[in-house]
Amino acid sequence: MQALELAQITLDYGRRRVLYDLSLHVTTNQVVVVTGSNGSGKSTLLRVIAGLQRPTVGAVWCIADGVRYPPLQMRHAIGWMAPDLMLYRELTGHENLRFFADVRGVSISDVAIADLLAEVGLAGRGGDLLATYSSGMTHRLRYAYALLHQPALLLLDEPSVMLDTSGHDLLARVVARQRQHGMTLIATNDERERRFADVLVSLEVAV
């Protein structure tokens, strides 16, 4: 996937308008930071781009080799993480990643999974059940879930919430690496994360 296009996205929850007439074009190597107050639709926008929610009006297109695809057909190229993304509590961290690699059709060795866990700060904890993880550790595993298949489009919703200082370093590393080969969209209000932006999108609460 080389580009992402949002064409006049409007989304209503019943009578409440969350997103209104939003258009955006993102290309490889770009980092887009979406800001806005609580309820302005940042997380909803990322869910729409991931194909987890349909817009009321407008369309999202993933562009690969000059052809436009809906997100549903490009999920193999999309990585999404959010505070409300839940993985399987009765599986270990390693088993979660093995499971999602298998369902995605990603060939990855156990050693590579262990390396990924170490990269997100969970070295030596891959054999523990997710139910025993702290909220910060769970959030780190969400990074591993999103990065597992090396997506061309990485969607990060509140990426540093629940993380300690080393978690901010992790985010900086992830964004820097993603910038080399893909696109990144970050939904945040954290001042430190705004600095990653090549494009800044500010959402206001629609009336």
Binding site: G51, D84, L87, Y88, R89, F100, D102, V103, R104
Partner: protein
């Protein structure tokens, strides 16, 4: 020929369901207790029935009613738990919809087959049921379980996101299941009465045809329901 990636994803989903269930045993415990309580209660209340022309039909109806309600308890869980624990989004984003359907269908089939063996053995022992044709009985139970799972797995996906899941599952499933239940009861009664496999093949064929029809329809509809 099945796509290797689809097969791998289906297998992973089936094994994940199995592993999760073996670790928390929520569905297994609930269904097993329900099945044991039902059989014991009826056996204590009724006692052994006197031989008559209708006794095979009564026993067969009793067997399938228990299996039906145990299925209502167990089979919707595969999708309901994904929504309750909010893991559905992660799965939606990662797995092909068909693999999700096939993996959960296989898991439901394993659960129902285990349940069928448990309920049947308990019923035979506690109600002193005489089985006239074992081969036909096994054929009926296998094809009936297949039809029950094929008929309910898609409905489980439909109701998973609604608020009153339990009631809705029964309400939506029952009209779909009535034809197969009637066939299963009558076929099982033939097996208990001792009709030979060759003469009792019609209900098995009907149940298998029903299962195939529901399976194919579910394959077409599941992606729309799941997404």
């Amino acid at each position: 020929m099945i796509d290797p990636l689809l097969w791998r994803a289906t297998r992973a989903i089936f094994l994940r369901e199995l592993r999760s269930e073996l670790r928390n045993r929520q569905a297994l415990n609930a269904v097993t207790l329900f099945a044991i309580c039902s059989v014991v209660t009826v056996s204590l209340g009724l006692g052994p029935l006197m031989p008559s022309a209708d006794v095979a039909l009564v026993h067969a109806a009793f067997l399938w009613v228990i299996l039906l309600f145990a299925a209502f308890t167990a089979l919707s869980r595969v999708f309901v738990v994904e929504e309750e624990q909010r893991t559905a989004a992660a799965l939606r984003l990662a797995a092909p919809p068909i693999a999700v359907y096939l993996g959960k269908l296989c898991f439901n089939l394993v659960v129902l087959l285990g349940l069928t063996v448990l309920v049947t053995v308990l019923a035979i022992v506690m109600l002193h049921i005489r089985v006239g044709a074992w081969d036909l009985l096994v054929g009926m139970l296998l094809s009936g379980a297949l039809a029950l799972v094929a008929g309910t797995t898609l409905v489980a996906a439909i109701i998973a996101r609604s608020s009153s899941r339990g009631a809705l599952f029964a309400v939506l499933s029952l009209p779909i299941l009535i034809p197969m239940l009637v066939t299963a009861v009558r076929g099982t009664a033939l097996a208990l009465a001792g009709v030979s496999l060759a003469r009792g093949m019609a209900p098995i064929q009907t149940l298998l045809a029903y299962a195939v029809a529901m399976f194919v329809a579910s394959l077409f509809l599941f992606a729309t329901v799941w997404e």
